[in-house]
């Protein structure tokens, strides 16, 4: 059902498509990342709407973050977040040691500046 490989390939095409279209217009890395973020925003919004239809209201911010780290991340990336840290003042750091969208990529230093493109969520 909408297999993992298919989604990963689609995601790759999406990223390279956005960058290719940018090459003809503005060549700003920042603009493309914004485009990707906006796409991710729409997708995330839709997903959360469907996903939390039946769950109870969230009590506080920490509850929301726990939901994202456990249920949401498991659904989207098939595993839980490995580490969640906070300074209790609104900043949360989510750490995933094996990010599914990047595992298929080679681990050389060659294209390091393009790595940020992939993380459009």
């Amino acid at each position: 059902m909408a297999d993992e490989a298919l989604f990963l390939l689609l995601h790759n095409e999406l990223v390279s498509g956005v960058y290719k279209s940018a090459e003809q217009g503005e060549v700003e890395n920042g603009r493309c990342i914004t485009k990707l973020e906006n796409m991710g925003f729409r997708v995330g919004q839709g997903l959360i709407e469907r996903f939390t239809k039946d769950t109870a209201r969230f009590k506080d911010e920490l509850d929301i973050m726990k939901f994202i780290c456990k249920d949401f991340w498991t659904t989207v990336f098939k595993k839980q977040i490995d580490n969640l840290r906070t300074n209790h003042q609104g900043i949360y750091v989510l750490q995933d040691n094996k990010f599914r969208l990047l595992t298929q990529m080679s681990a050389g230093k060659q294209y390091l500046e393009h790595a940020s493109k992939v993380n459009f969520r």
Binding site: A2, A5, L6, L9, M39, G46, T75, V76
Partner: protein, 180 residues
Amino acid sequence: MSRQANRGTESKKMSSELFTLTYGALVTQLCKDYENDEDVNKQLDKMGYNIGVRLIEDFLARSNVGKCHDFRETADVIAKVAFKMYLGITPSITNWSPAGDEFSLILENNPLVDFVELPDNHSSLIYSNLLCGVLRGALEMVQMAVEAKFVQDTLKGDGVTEIRMRFIRRIEDNLPVGEE
């Protein structure tokens, strides 16, 4: 025990929704970038082609099907194994041409178009054109040049979605010059 099973199907449904939503975001973005529908269709086809040439490897690695001896076998494998594996649906095969080189895939429900409506100003947009590109790319990697196009589309008011596949020719491997 049953709660575990529930979670399983729920997360499968969610990952197919993730795919559908991502595809929707992609098409929306393409419509914004390109002015007319024809360009978007071409772009979707190209992207599908790139996906197809890689997907075929994953497919062959996972499905263990042997070599197909003729186009009919190919059609069967596409409908019963490939579509089932990746999209969870089994289209039916109909309308074989008398020469046996054209057939139609009929999809009762297309998972790509869940929650989708085509606005009026995009009436010539082929929303699921990615699928045509995927089929073309994948088959080209197994030495078959084909053409795939949408004949009916539920988004445009038809009852089913129909993809017409036409076999063009078998691709022979060309050895590079000087290597015999």
